[in-house]
C-alpha cells in the first residue's frame, strides 16, 4: 500500500524554482531519505508534505487522500526538527502531551500513551524537567517522544541529528533505526549526510537544484548511480571520474583514457550498458570508486595498471592515495597496513565489475 505519494509537485520562492515537478511514492513501512546538498529543496519538500508550506503546483496524497489543502494537524503526521523545537516553557511531560491535548484526547488515553512512549524511549525519569535542563541526546529523545505519542501514519524527520556531536549522532542514528524496525511506521527523513542516508533508508531520493536525481535503494544508488552528480555525491572520497573516449571495434567496446594514445585501453566488454553503447569516439567518464582500486588481483577481469603514488593521506584505519593516471588525478583507498611510498610506481587492479560509465555531454549513465 502506498502511504505517501507526491505528484508533479512544484514550488517557487519568488522567481527561484525550489522544486520542479517532483514525483515520489513510498510504500507503507518504508524509510525514505531525502538526501542532497544544502539548498537542494529537500527541507521544502518535507515542509510541504507536513503542510507547513503551501503548494504552487501538484498534489500530495496520504493514504490515497489528497491532503494538499489539509491543515498540518489533520494530516496524521508527526515531525521531529533539527533544533528539537521543544516548547521552552513546558516540562518534558507537557511537551509530549501538548499535541494530544489539542486534539481533545481523553485523559486516560493521554496518560496511557505518555507512559508507553516515555518508558519506550527511557525518558520516564525526565518527565518533570524543563528542556533547558536536558542534554542534547535527551532533548532529541523527547522530541521523538512528542512525535511518537501521536501515533502518526508518517514520521517526518528534518535533519534530526545535525545538532549532535559525532559520537552521539552515531548512537542516535542506531536508535532511530531500531525505532523504525520496532514500529514499522513510514518515515520521511531529510539529511545532507550520506552515511545517515545509506544506513537508515530503505529508499533514498537524491536531490539537487529541486530535481530528484535518483530515487532508488541505497545499494543501487551506491553501485549504479544514474548520473555524475549522484556518483560524485555518494561515497567518500567520491568516485573517480576519468576523462576519455569510447572505442568500438567489431565486438569489442573499450575505454581510452585521455592522453593515453590507445595504449591504455580498458575493456568494457563486461560492462552492462543501459542501452547498446553509442558511437565510437564519444567523450565519456569512466567512473570507479577509490575502494574498487585494489593493490592485488581479486577477479580475473581486473584491469592491471602501473601508477605513481603522488600523495598519501593517512586516516587511521585506511589511507587514501592520490595517483597519476595519464596526468589525471585518481584516488585509491587501501587498508593502512599496506605499505605504500609516495613517488613510486605500484601495480594496481581496477575492479571492472564495479565501474560506471557516463556520457560526458549529458552526465548520464550509459
Amino acid at each position: 500500500m502506498i502511504t505517501l505519494k507526491v505528484q508533479d509537485l512544484s514550488k517557487n520562492f519568488g522567481s527561484t524554482e525550489v522544486l520542479k515537478k517532483i514525483n515520489l511514492e513510498i510504500e507503507e513501512g518504508n524509510f525514505l531519505v531525502l538526501l542532497g546538498p544544502s539548498g537542494c529543496g529537500k527541507s521544502t519538500l518535507l515542509n510541504i508534505i507536513a503542510g507547513l508550506e503551501t503548494i504552487d503546483e501538484g498534489t500530495v496524497f496520504i493514504d490515497d487522500y489528497n491532503v494538499s489543502e489539509v491543515e498540518p494537524k489533520d494530516r496524521n503526521i508527526a515531525m521531529v526538527f533539527q533544533s528539537y523545537a521543544l516548547y521552552p516553557s513546558m516540562n518534558v511531560k507537557e511537551n509530549m502531551v501538548f499535541g494530544l491535548k489539542q486534539s481533545k484526547t481523553s485523559k486516560e488515553k493521554i496518560e496511557e500513551q505518555l507512559k508507553k512512549v516515555s518508558s519506550f524511549l527511557h525518558v520516564d525519569e525526565l518527565l518533570n524537567r524543563k528542556p533547558s535542563q536536558l542534554s542534547g541526546g535527551q532533548r532529541q529523545r523527547v522530541a521523538i517522544g512528542r512525535a511518537l505519542v501521536r501515533e502518526p501514519r508518517i514520521f517526518l524527520f528534518d535533519e534530526p541529528l545535525s545538532n549532535l556531536d559525532a559520537k552521539l549522532r552515531v548512537e542516535m542514528r542506531r536508535e532511530i533505526k531500531k525505532l523504525h524496525q520496532t514500529l514499522k511506521t513510514t518515515v520521511v527523513y531529510v539529511t545532507h549526510d550520506q552515511t545517515e542516508a545509506m544506513s537508515l533508508g530503505t529508499n533514498i531520493a537524491i536531490m539537487n537544484h529541486g530535481v530528484i536525481q535518483q530515487y532508488d535503494t541505497p545499494e543501487n544508488i551506491y553501485n549504479k548511480p544514474n548520473n555524475t552528480f549522484v556518483a560524485d555525491f555518494i561515497g567518500s572520497p567520491s568516485m573517480n571520474l576519468i576523462n576519455g573516449q569510447l572505442a568500438k571495434e567489431a565486438n569489442n567496446v573499450s575505454f581510452i583514457p585521455e592522453g593515453s594514445n590507445q595504449s591504455g585501453k580498458v575493456s568494457l566488454n563486461n560492462y552492462n550498458f543501459v542501452k547498446s553503447p553509442q558511437e565510437s569516439g564519444n567523450d565519456i567518464y569512466f567512473g570507479i570508486r577509490p575502494e574498487h582500486i585494489h593493490y592485488k588481483k581479486t577477479n580475473d577481469t581486473d584491469f592491471e595498471v602501473n601508477l605513481r603514488a603522488d600523495l598519501k593521506e593517512y586516516v587511521g584505519h585506511e589511507q587514501i592515495i592520490t595517483f597519476n593516471y595519464y596526468s589525471q588525478e585518481i584516488l585509491g583507498k587501501f587498508p593502512s597496513t599496506v605499505k605504500i611510498e609516495t613517488g613510486q610506481e605500484m601495480k594496481l587492479f581496477f575492479d571492472l565489475s564495479q565501474i560506471s560509465v557516463f556520457d560526458k555531454k549529458t552526465n548520464k549513465r550509459i
Binding site: 515542509n47 494537524k73 526538527f81 516548547y87 489539542q102
Partner: protein, 301 residues
C-alpha cells in the same frame, strides 16, 4: 628570537607592569567617582533643599545639610496647604498619571507583542513594509502629530480626558513596543511554531502558550521603557489635557511655574522628587532584568 633577558630584568618588568596596573586602576576609580558624583550631586541638592526651611535656603548654602529636618514642604507638595481655590498640589494628579500609565503600558505592550509575533512568525506579503512604516513611527517628532491627534481626539469625543491620553500613548508606543518584540521573536526558532502547528495549536494558542511564557525578559524591557516614557511625558499631557484631567508632570509644571507669590524652592524640590519617584522605583525593582532583557539572545529550546 631568543633575547637574553635575565631573571632580574624580568623582575623589573614585573614591577613596572604592576605599578602601571595600579596607577591605571586608581585613574579608573577617579573617573568613575567623578562621573557618579556628576549625577548624584543634583539629586543630593534636591533632597537637602526639600528638607530645609525657606529662611535657611535664602542663606544660599546649596550643599549644606539642613540644620533641622523639615518635612513640611513634602506635605505641602503632596496634599496642599489646606485652603481652597488656587491651591495646587500633586495628589489628585498623581492618581491621574497612574490611571493613564497603567492601561497605556499594558495595552501598548500587549499590542506590540502581538504585532511582533505576526511580523516574525506569520510572515505575509508586504510585512517588511509594514515594519518599515512602524519604524518610521519611532522617528516622527512628537510635535508633528499634535494637531492631527488633537483633531482625532476631538472627533472621538475623548479630548481632555485620561482615556484620550491613554489612547495617544498607546498608539505612540506601538512602534517602539513592536520593535522590541519583533527583535526578540526573530531570534526564536521558527521550528517552534511549526512544531506547535503540527501539534494542532492555532494562532492565539501558539502566542499565549508558547511565545508569551518565554517573553518575560522583553516584557520587562518594554514595560520599563513605556512606563518611563508615559510617566515622564509632558508634551501630550499639556496639549491634550488641562485642569483636573492633567497628569502629574503638567501639575508639577503648574505648581512650579505659575505661583504668584514667593517661590518656595523646598516645595518645588519635594514635588519634583515625588513626580520622579515611580520611575525610580520601577528601575530599582526591574533594572537588572532590563539589562538582561536587552542583551538576551535566543531562548534555545
Amino acid at each position: 628570537m631568543s633575547a637574553n633577558i635575565s631573571a632580574t630584568s624580568y623582575k623589573q618588568l614585573e614591577q613596572k607592569s604592576k605599578l602601571k596596573n595600579m596607577l591605571l586602576r586608581w585613574f579608573l576609580y577617579f573617573v568613575l567617582i567623578l562621573f557618579a558624583s556628576y549625577f548624584i550631586f543634583p539629586l543630593y541638592v534636591m533632597i537637602v533643599t526639600s528638607l530645609k526651611t525657606m529662611p535657611e535656603i535664602r542663606q544660599g548654602n546649596l550643599i549644606t545639610w539642613p540644620s533641622q529636618l523639615n518635612f513640611k514642604p513634602w506635605a505641602v507638595a503632596w496634599g496642599g496647604r489646606g485652603y481652597g481655590a488656587g491651591d495646587t498640589f500633586l495628589r489628585p494628579y498623581f492618581w491621574n498619571s497612574i490611571k493613564m500609565v497603567v492601561p497605556a503600558v499594558v495595552a501598548s505592550t500587549f499590542i506590540g507583542a502581538m504585532t511582533g509575533y505576526v511580523l516574525t512568525k506569520w510572515r505575509f506579503k508586504g510585512d517588511s513594509w509594514i515594519f518599515l512604516f512602524l519604524l518610521f513611527g519611532c522617528f516622527i517628532p512628537f510635535q508633528a502629530i499634535l494637531l492631527p491627534m488633537a483633531r482625532t481626539l476631538g472627533v472621538l469625543g475623548i479630548s481632555n480626558s485620561i482615556l484620550g491620553l491613554v489612547v495617544v500613548h498607546t498608539v505612540y508606543g506601538i512602534p517602539f513596543t513592536t520593535l522590541f518584540f519583533r527583535n526578540y521573536y526573530v531570534s526564536i526558532p521558527n521550528e517552534l511554531i511549526k512544531a506547535a502547528r503540527i501539534d494542532g495549536a492555532g494562532f492565539f494558542k501558539i502566542f499565549f502558550k508558547i511565545l508569551l511564557p518565554i517573553s518575560a525578559p522583553i516584557i520587562v524591557v518594554t514595560v520599563i521603557w513605556q512606563f518611563t516614557q508615559i510617566w515622564n511625558d509632558f508634551l501630550f499631557g499639556s496639549t491634550f489635557s488641562f485642569g483636573e484631567a492633567a497628569p502629574i508632570q503638567v501639575a508639577l509644571n503648574n505648581m512650579v511655574l505659575s505661583s504668584t507669590s514667593v517661590k518656595e524652592y523646598n516645595v518645588d524640590m519635594a514635588s519634583a522628587i515625588i513626580a520622579g519617584f515611580p520611575t525610580l522605583i520601577v528601575y530599582v525593582l526591574a533594572g537588572k532584568y532590563f539589562i538582561r532583557g536587552l542583551t538576551s539572545g535566543a531562548v534555545k529550546g
